[in-house]
């Protein structure tokens, strides 16, 4: 509503002020946890006492971050979350790449090379976006065992690819549906085949949806906890599982500053992605939902 003539009465001004007040309050509500998390992570432990939630650190220190990264106890071991951070990266990168490539090819085949039953196949795959994953946990555990992938990073990569392609296929399908089919017809007449049309005609215009798909898959897999906790062992855990273990490890005094530093470490990659490519992040969230 950009082109509305507004009255310039005192009452209208008051209303305008109220609008800003509500919006700012809401901003505070959303910001509070992040601010608390940040300032607490830079406080030495002795500065954490009742009533100091919002006070800035008197003597700021990066000690909690160092401890969270390399020394804090996650269950039995006390090696910090650093190793698990790398675990997450080792799982996320291949899983994101594979699921995006597969989704792109699927979306292309489903929209530009329609055949009898292709819409049905798409609906069949789409359903994979909606199932509660609890319904596949037990068979998955057993199947990973048969494949010799129990508690391995490869196993987790496989799981994330399998349950990610429904989403990536949806993204690319909805994107390619809007690309004129005449382009493909023209390329066919020019003599190009299936893969060449994909490579030369479709892929060069797919940058936005590739970004959407990569960001979506990255946040989904990075933030995953259920598969991580169900299908990993000590040395293959992703960082979310390690963070949960760290926070729930009840030996010694509770070091809230270390907890918060560890939470920040787990949150930073997706936060950075969000700040850098927020537009595409929102598009992924809405594309994954609104239109089928």
């Amino acid at each position: 509503m950009d082109n509305v003539i507004r009255r310039r009465t005192p009452g209208a001004r008051l209303g305008r002020a109220a609008v800003y007040a509500v919006l700012l309050l809401a901003a505070l509500f959303y910001l509070l946890p992040l601010v608390v998390m940040l300032i607490t992570s830079f406080k030495p432990l002795h500065e954490i006492s009742p009533g100091t939630l919002l006070s800035l650190p008197q003597s700021p220190t990066v000690e909690p971050w160092i401890k969270a990264w390399g020394e804090a106890c996650t269950g039995m071991r006390c090696e910090g979350v650093g190793g698990y951070f790398w675990n997450s990266i080792a799982i996320v990168v291949p899983a994101v790449l594979i699921s995006t490539v597969v989704g792109a090819l699927n979306g292309y085949a489903l929209t530009k090379w329609r055949f009898r039953g292709s819409e049905l196949l798409f609906a069949l795959m789409l359903f994979g976006c909606f199932i509660p994953f609890q319904v596949v946990l037990l068979p998955m555990a057993q199947t990973l065992g048969w494949l010799g992938l129990s508690s391995s990073r490869a196993g987790l990569i496989l799981v994330h690819v399998i349950f990610g392609i429904a989403f990536t296929t949806l993204f690319f399908r909805n994107f390619y549906v809007a690309v004129p089919t005449e382009l493909v017809s023209a390329a066919k007449l020019d003599g190009a085949g299936f893969f060449r049309i994909f490579w030369r005609i479709l892929l060069p215009v797919s940058a936005p949806i590739i970004v959407v798909s990569v960001i979506w898959q990255f946040t989904q897999i990075w933030n995953d906890f259920l598969f991580g906790v169900a299908f990993s062992a000590h040395d293959t855990q992703p960082v979310t599982v390690a963070l949960n273990n760290l926070v729930n490890t009840s030996t010694g005094t509770r070091e809230y500053n270390v907890d918060m530093a560890a939470a920040m470490i787990a949150a930073l990659p997706t936060l950075i992605v969000y700040v850098l490519a927020g537009k595409y992040f929102v598009r992924g969230l809405t594309a994954g939902s609104v239109k089928g």
């Binding site: 919006l23 009533g51 699927n106 795959m125 359903f127 199932i131 299936f194 933030n223 949960n244 949150a267």
Partner: protein, 310 residues
Amino acid sequence: MTIVSHAQERPARPAARRTAAAHLQDWLPRLVLAPSIAITLFFVYGFMLWTFVLSLTSSRMLPSYDFVGFAQYARLMANDRWWVASTNLVIFGGLFVAICLVIGVVLAILLDQRIRQEGALRTLYLYPMALSFIVTGVVWKWLLNPGLGIQAMVRSWGFESFTFNWIVDPDMAIYTLVLAAVWQASGFVMALFLAGLRGIDDSIIKAAQLDGASLPRVYLRVILPCLRPVVFSAVMILSHIAIKSFDLVVALTGGGPGYATDLPATFMYTHAFTRAQIGLGSASAMLMLGGVLAILIPYLYSELRSRKHG
């Protein structure tokens, strides 16, 4: 040109069939899709069936195929903890969806009033959606900690009797889940509604104003009805998040105090993976699937119908 010479070698036959290359081109799309379809059939549909089969057995530590009919479902119905989890889901899901919608609509409408720094505000509202529910749980657990969190802070300001100890109160703990989940997802609902508002044809609004409608009335009578599909998808996504909620419970309350904040998702995990009740866990997973289908099918039905008419 090679094509021409190739064609001339093959003088016109009455019914020249397709060349091998043409056949391959025809089958390539199917070949490309085949692995994904096979994976979907096995890992989604096969596993659903498999879980259903497990739910009919007496499996405990390990899957066994000793069938007991629907006995596990009967056990589930008699299980107090399952009922707590299901009731919790209704409370949590209902409040979560309703509050997110209200906050989302209000913020979207307010942001739509030519606000300075709209982009910055939008970014602030939405960033929690980028976080893991585990991170959300960890930070809210700390904020809600009566001894060190918000309660202690407000008391230190002089309100000695201020009490905000929901997280340790079995009757109130479920609402802490609502609070944290709303914090995480309401900005996303705002983004959905804002996109919907921006997508409305400007001339409708102009027409309504020329008809003499005041701004609030334009919103109520003209704009919000246009956003019905957005409400629909938002409800759909939010209830989906609610049913799947697992990580948030684990990180924020651990299902406690006691099992006061158990949800079906945590119930299933606990029974299947830590309490050696695979049969019972499978039965609860199937009921979760049923819940999702109960929401999904009407949604898909109306989507398909509207697309046919649209």
